[in-house]
């Protein structure tokens, strides 16, 4: 798709400015609280630690608040939301442990709002802004709806609180707003730039009506809006209590020091790691329904001293589909990996961490797309693929350091396996359900340990897989199983964590069929790459068995444990498809595990035998990939294993070629 800059859209193509520039642009219209450098220096360590931990606890409490108020399983059961506390100019001071991809760009939305809303309509105490425009920030696709609020102390903006959560439907052509036929953003849900939806403490009904009118499930989205209002209220009450107890200047000094501390400690770590360059490519198959293209994100990570550069030059041009992400997606793709691999023992203050790296990207590419490219899958398509490339490069960098190498990890569950159902539920009302089972993705293997089986997603430390019983209670579904899948972890000296699979039928819907939206890459090539010779994890595999005999099998009391047991027309699902599921259809989805680490021929044979016994690895993979031969009782045949590994090495050598120029 050619890049067609649209006059009038430049205002929304935002690159976050440094704090000083935001202050200068906003200060003619709003008063912004500030503290002196001396106040930050004067801060005593005890007060710093107490207030810092209090800020961290506030983001945890915001999580509990939203879960209690929301009625959406993706929020209540999957924890697909997050929060940030930001200073007066939008520098993120503290991020929650939930979806770190989402909160990574709260700063962009707040800074944009300060620059563009301070004069008109103004920013006042009790206001809250809603935003789901990925070009502005605050989320990575239209379903990520953020709600952020200034916290006033006196007549000055002291800080901002922000909540962002995935909303199950915000309109657009396809149910769930994953417009798999999208060729540009006009096929999708309308991106909404920051809108003052709460004014002086009152939810504006005219604005709320405009917001909800687009949704297929307005009552649920209205409830989630109130949940986010509640989470912001809760955070602001706690911050007000802190300010009353310690003074505004002290709390602000803590915020400044957290940001500085995060920066300095990350820089100190980076200084210890050898300088170098690490490159990676991550692939996405298909940009929309009917498309058979392959899209690449290329990354060159350069580390020099205490500074990094993430250079995405050479990434493919934006596609005429739904997989593109904006610049917010690149930032959202980098920050989760940085937080979990390098910052486990640092304050999670993105405002400081962002100072330690530069981003080079080309507008008009799949992970820095320009308006009006389609972005409705941006979060789990190009932003996720960015995360994969960043994981490879950052982990490669960490692997070169004796101590930090233990934080390196191969790619975790290479993409989201979307199955979205919509129709009439067992109570006769409309429903939209994003099947949350792939939350149990496999984590990547590490230089000293196997990846965690069905351990979750790299970007959501607090992620959860929804309870099957809750899914069956809430939606017209009957599960045949949800389980770990053998061989789905990438083979290696350390094995990647297993992914899983689910199989279900439509059950008790008053309608003859439900809508099914399928959107998941990694079917034409694996996306969870291995490291240091480790193999990639599985390709994703989704199948609908049409006009099956499942009801007959169930009425006979047959326990179905393999999709091949079900007779009918087996229809493998392409990466993108909008279709229907009938009452006699069975749907099977198998999502990705984590990549392996090191050569599988170096894996301890007993560990392979244990994996076979636990049905994590099949005997065939043990023999052909790991070179481990087992006796009938699944113990290792050591002599045969030595010979099998020798034979695999001979085969490798026979197929190998000398490199050009190095003979």
């Amino acid at each position: 798709m050619p890049v067609n800059p649209v006059p009038g859209s430049e205002k929304f193509s935002y690159r976050p400015r440094p704090a000083a520039e935001v202050r200068e642009l906003a200060s003619p219209h709003v008063k912004l609280h500030d503290v002196s450098t001396e106040a930050v220096t004067r801060l005593d360590p005890l007060t710093y630690e107490v207030v810092r931990h209090r800020l961290e606890a506030v983001t945890d409490e915001m999580g509990e608040a939203i879960v209690r108020m929301s009625g959406s399983i993706i929020v209540t059961d999957c924890n697909d939301f997050n929060f940030a506390i930001l200073d007066e100019v939008g520098e993120a001071v503290q991020m929650g442990l939930y979806n770190t991809e989402l909160a990574a760009c709260s700063d962009m939305a707040v800074k944009w709002t300060l620059e563009n809303r301070s004069a008109n309509p103004g920013i006042r105490s009790g206001d809250m802004f809603l935003c789901n425009d990925p070009w502005v920030g605050g989320g990575l696709h239209q379903n990520d709806v953020s709600l952020f609020a200034p916290l006033f102390v006196g007549d000055e903006i002291f800080a901002w609180t922000a909540a962002v959560a995935h909303q199950v439907d915000v309109g657009g052509v396809s149910p769930g707003s994953w417009s798999v036929n999208s060729q540009d953003v006009f096929w999708e849900s309308l991106p909404t730039p920051p809108l003052k939806i709460v004014e002086g403490g009152h939810l504006r009904s005219d604005i709320e009506d405009v917001w909800l009118r687009r949704c297929r499930i307005p009552a649920l989205v209205a409830l989630d809006l109130r949940a986010k209002i509640g989470a912001n209220h809760m955070a602001q009450e706690r911050l007000n209590e802190l300010v009353q107890k310690y003074s505004a200047d002290t709390v602000k000094a803590v915020m400044r020091r957290m940001i500085d501390d995060a920066e300095q400690r990350l820089r100190a770590k980076l200084s210890e790691i050898p300088d170098g360059e690490w490159t990676a490519v991550s692939y996405q198959d298909s940009a929309r329904q009917g498309d058979d293209g392959l899209y690449r994100i290329r990354l060159r990570l350069q580390k020099q001293g205490d500074q990094m550069t993430f250079d995405f030059t050479g990434t493919d041009a934006q596609a005429d589909g739904l997989i593109n992400c904006t610049f917010a997606g690149i930032r959202g793709g980098i920050m989760p990996v940085l937080l979990t691999t390098l910052c486990g023992d640092l304050p999670w203050s993105p405002g400081g961490l962002y100072r330690c790296f530069d981003i080079i990207s080309e507008p008009g590419t799949v992970n820095d797309c320009t308006y009006p490219a389609g972005v409705s899958k941006g979060s789990v398509a190009s932003a996720w693929a960015t995360t994969n490339a960043v994981t490879e490069c950052l982990s490669g960098m960490l692997d070169a350091h004796a101590e930090y190498s233990r934080n390196a990890m191969s790619v975790c569950v290479g993409s989201w396996d979307l199955a979205l159902l919509a129709g009439l539920d067992q109570r006769g009302g409309p429903f939209v359900n994003l099947v949350g089972d792939p939350m149990a993705g496999g984590l990547g293997a590490r230089p000293d340990s196997d990846g965690v089986d069905t351990g979750g997603l790299a970007m959501i430390p607090m992620g959860r897989v929804p309870d099957v019983e809750m899914s069956e209670f809430s939606y017209p579904m009957l599960y045949l199983w949800r389980r770990e899948e053998a061989d789905s972890g990438g083979p290696g000296r350390y094995r990647g964590g297993l992914g899983g699979s689910s199989a279900f039928v439509v059950y008790d819907s008053p309608a003859p069929e439900v809508a099914l939206v399928v959107s998941g890459g990694g079917k034409a090539m694996p996306q969870s790459s291995g490291m240091s010779g480790g193999y990639p994890a599985n390709t994703q595999y989704d199948v609908a068995v049409r006009n099956s005999n499942i009801r007959e099998l169930l009425s006979q009391g047959t326990v179905v444990t393999d999709i091949e047991q079900v007779q009918g027309v087996h229809e493998p699902m392409p990466p993108h498809l909008e279709t229907k599921l009938g009452l006699d259809d069975v749907y099977f989805l198998a999502w990705q595990g984590g990549g392996g680490y090191g050569d599988p021929l170096h894996r301890a044979p007993d560990a392979v035998a244990a994996d076979v016994l636990a049905e994590k690895v099949t005997s065939a993979a043990a023999r052909d990939v790991y070179g481990v031969v087992l006796h009938g009782d699944k113990t290792v045949d050591h002599d045969a294993t030595v010979e099998q590994r020798r034979a695999i090495r001979r085969d490798r050598a026979a197929e190998a070629q000398q490199p050009e120029g190095a003979r």
Binding site: W278, Y283, R296, K523, M525, S529, N538, A621
Partner: protein, 98 residues
């Protein structure tokens, strides 16, 4: 002085050696796997977990690719990549080892 690069590679005075058999895989300044052998083939070589191509959802040809130590045939890099993509994953250390 020796310095770790990863599980399989050690940097010795800027040269990259195989950590298992000491074979030199790169001279100073070269990407770490510059002198490794390359094995290419059908994606099925990646193991039973990879179903790529069944059915073919994309136009581009993809292949299994492995970089191997010429000395001991340890897998140093294993990937499924587009046939047309020559340079996919490289490591170059620029800090000279002490």
């Amino acid at each position: 002085m020796n310095r770790r690069v990863n599980d399989n590679l050690t940097s010795v005075n800027g040269k990259i050696h195989c950590a298992h058999c000491d074979h030199v895989l790169a001279e100073a300044g070269e990407p770490a796997l510059h002198r490794a052998l390359t094995r290419r083939g059908d994606v099925a070589k990646a193991g039973p977990q990879v179903r790529a191509g069944v059915p073919a959802f994309i136009r581009a040809a993809v292949e299994f690719r492995q970089k191997l130590c010429p000395g001991c045939h340890t897998a140093l890099l294993t990937e499924v990549a587009a046939v047309d993509d020559v340079a996919t994953r490289e490591t170059t250390l620029t800090t000279p080892s002490d």
